[in-house]
Symmetry: none
Subunit: 331 residues, 4 copies
């Protein structure tokens, strides 16, 4: 396993990490959850990603049980939670005080996550989407206080804009607080703009780290949708229509077919090519893998072996096939 500092912070995170979104507490049972985490841990993965929203808290409970049962030293891994966004599991039955990035919910969601995960502190705690109904100042203060109290070690954001991340840092500078360390954006061959363009300066200025999600574009980059839309896949899950429609465009499927061929020529597979392509980007601190089966996870860990194949020439060919290089501002 390779490790990398999370942005400019000194925290060493494994470049592949493991997330339980859409799987724990939903697609996979507790036994599989355990074996998946064991495979991950034993292969050097040290970051387990979670959120209050994943399976309505169930995902954290399952992960907490595994962590307890395994008895791994607390200082050998990194565990996260996220507050806000999707905490209602799409049911819309949350009380007005049970959501958002205001101090009450940020604090209470943290306490609840600690309980579900059965840990004393979160290594990473994310603001899961921006909240236009709370001043960023209030959120930064709340996160800082949780760090002061020892309940959180690093805080970050997920799917915030560059402007919002910089506003958080502006507030942090203004009040001498600890600003966000990392952002969790979607990043894969089909969704590139934020990581490659929008955040470009922030890696340098405040040293932003990134924990990227969906490296396989919800499975599209495995090639499994190449010949139609199979049942029982993640994109079939209710509530994910927004992802499905954006990603499953005809145009994208064509590209994936070409890339699948190209992967074969390179002597690897489509999923490994897609993962290696993410790892190749040095602005990505860690690529979060999801998995519902042991073999799938073990297989995907081989992505490191593919990275050396990605020479400049190969990357250019991929770029030509993708034909979606984001436009950089002229100045």
């Amino acid at each position: 396993m390779e490790y990398k500092r999370l942005g400019k912070s000194g925290l060493q995170v494994s470049r592949l990490s493991f997330g339980s979104w859409l799987t724990f507490g939903k697609q996979v049972g507790d036994t599989t959850a355990e074996s998946l985490m064991k495979i991950a841990y034993e292969n050097g993965i040290n970051f387990f990603d979670n959120a209050e929203a994943y399976a309505g808290g169930k995902s954290e409970e399952v992960m907490g049980e595994v962590l307890k049962k395994m008895g791994w030293r607390r200082d050998s891994y990194i565990v996260s939670s996220k507050v806000f966004f999707g905490a209602d599991g799409g049911k819309g039955d949350l009380k007005p005080t049970q959501k958002g990035l205001n101090r009450k919910h940020v604090v209470e969601a943290c306490d609840q996550a600690l309980q579900r995960l059965q840990v004393d502190y979160l290594d990473l705690y994310f603001c899961h989407r921006p909240d236009k109904e709370t001043p960023i100042e209030e959120t930064v203060w709340s996160m800082h206080n949780l760090i002061q109290q020892g309940k959180v070690l690093y805080w970050g954001t997920s799917e915030w804009s560059a402007q919002e991340i910089m506003e958080a840092h502006m507030v942090a500078k203004q009040y001498n607080l600890i600003g966000p360390t990392m952002e969790q954006p979607q990043y894969n061959m089909l969704v590139r703009d934020k990581v490659e363009v929008e955040f470009k300066q922030i890696y340098k200025t405040v040293g932003l780290g990134t924990t990227t999600w969906s490296p396989l574009a919800s499975g599209i980059l495995t090639g499994k949708y190449n010949d139609g839309f199979p049942k029982d896949t993640r994109l079939g899950i209710e509530g994910l229509e927004w992802l499905k429609d954006r990603l499953l465009a005809e145009e994208n499927l064509k590209k994936v077919k070409k890339l699948t061929e190209f992967a074969k020529e390179l002597g690897t597979t489509m999923p490994l090519l897609a993962l290696a392509w993410c790892l190749k980007n040095e602005d990505v601190s860690t690529v979060i893998l999801g998995a519902s089966k042991n073999e799938q996870l073990s297989e995907n860990l081989k992505a490191f072996e593919v990275v050396p194949l990605l020479t400049d020439e190969v990357m250019e060919k991929i770029e030509a096939m993708l034909d979606n290089a984001p436009v950089h501002p002229p100045f």
Copy 2:
């Protein structure tokens, strides 16, 4: 129920809320306390207001018992306490260190309120009147520290002047502390100056929220004093002479009689008109209702239905009857 941000904060508070001043631990027994809070909660009220002074702490004990018995999720409601002012219940038997807004009393009163209310933290904690014998700097630091410690989420003031609130914010800016989020002033058809004029700029500059008390002017705006001063009413309570004299002026009673007629014409009642009139003011975050009887509370919750009746034309007629529009400064 409607909800609104508490000033610029992200905390969503129900526009009608429930206070136990003068009732819990005094006028009403524990069974009524329970049924009142149940009615409130089930109708969407999420803010329960209290103070160390109310019934000498008894009010908090009663509320704490109900909260415990009901077992509502802690993240579904907002509970407050207030430090200083009236903590002696008018008996004047407090030791010198048992009052004021110095660090010792602010901290100790908070701990005591937490115990009486049987909660781990107060959502809102108010400085109940200014304390000329403590530098505001000391009070702001004390409140900030309680927030840092997780014992309080938001702090505010009650019956402070605009100058004092701004001084608290000045100190907060100077030392990088969290300033006051909300003020609890009296506000009703007969007492308007602070909310409508004195605080006008502060809503904009620092985003002050308001949790207003006495929307019915201690009962005068129900019309029950229209024909003389009945026994067993709140204004008859010992220690409230200061309120009684100010409010029960002949002039005020005349206005209320006119308004009572007008309410009938509108197809509503005097109390509902008075409550709706408060709700109409967008600078009011929440209107705190008191109640000693279930029916009274259920009835008052209908105030939202009356708000749409308050057209510009109707408001002008009310203004003419009140004839007490506060003077705005010429510049």
Copy 3:
């Protein structure tokens, strides 16, 4: 002459000072202006008050000429200007950039005042009324920068509210800038609220100084309106209707008649009693006198002799006659 620190600042200002509002460049010719300033200076008055608005800049030109001609040492007197309010002389012909408390007008008005007054720096520079169309932050920064550049020594406000003054201090603390030193409010026997109540805390907290205007309530407290409204008086000047209507109420004239009698009994005159009454207030740093005639100014300088007559007993009698003691907040 007595001198007093301007608030908590170390600047010693004469307790009676001289203002050219409504006189220089209007009511009085240049010769009179010169003799008036000479009388003032020779009697120990060290503060000459002015504003860009007074006589549309003419007042500053006249004062500048006198200062130049007299050749008094620059370090022996204090001279002020004020920016915004009334700069159009009621004509409403100012361009959008020629008014307000934005940086452009604050800076340009300062430069223009320096030219008209023929001095290198203003000792005091006032924001002449609040400007709701400019953030106070911008104004504080602008004033601070003028102090940095040596063009202004102390800056202050005129007819701002307590809230606005504290907001200026909040901004100053936030950015480590120099806040306002003094406020110029109206203060006399008939207009008391701001000086006696609204600013009460500010004298202590940030050490506000006050340079009060209109000690004789535009002449009403001389007694000259006791028997009707004479021609050629200040209140007859076009554009001052706002002052006239407020002050010339029947009620006020009755009080002045009583006080005139009482002054006689004390062995003094109505104007001297009114001035001495202002001087008696220790929160007043300096009382600005206006005058259009030499004798008038010389006479008014005798006010200091009347102050010792204002014993507690006498002050109580005056209070009874005035019957307008401002209400202090209950807490």
Copy 4:
């Protein structure tokens, strides 16, 4: 003429303003320059925009001569310059120290602009494009110091990203400096993203003002390219190929043809419709007009008359024809 605050600042800028880019010192002679500025000023335009790059400094010299000759009061208008970008007029013959946003060039370019414009200070001074070779910290300090010295009143940016603007504000908060007040982006019916999406939050958070350029998309929105590419037009100017290619797409010309028809139906012209459409956006502080002929400028000033025609219904029709509404982020 209508006026508007430049963002949250108190500076009142005319909603239509006048820029000399591509005209003064190039397309138009000194006599025309004079008559154009006279028409602008007499119609209430109070902002004249310039840059060190425009015609290699010649544009500022011409403007400076006109300002001097006209003798308009300095406090009645706003004049700007910009540092960096294009200062070599495309010749690439600048010495290493003659470009960029480092302190040396920012300071020296300011002094040079003051000389060319023959004024003592610039009202607005822009960073003309970001400079990746200078820390934003150095630029913010340099701009702040120029304000401290009185050489600049407000500073801003041109064609910076949201991230860069926020970084400037972060630095300003960190060191207690004055941050950028305004940004000068391109904005017209064909180029919308920055103004409508990227800066959306910044208008609220730090109160960004905008002085937008190219409201007619370099002439395309006049309709004059509808039937082919004529000679002697701005887009034919050497060095502007980057603009030409982006804007003159076939797709754009089709839209303009449709809009030209629609303008006629509305009873106005294509250029006036395009200008009014910009004015309609309340996040635009001022729309900078260019002009090389008197009649053209006089005609364009009529845009205000067209704004009222832009009802919600009309705006929807225009949106349908433009078919380029920028995508807002999903969160």
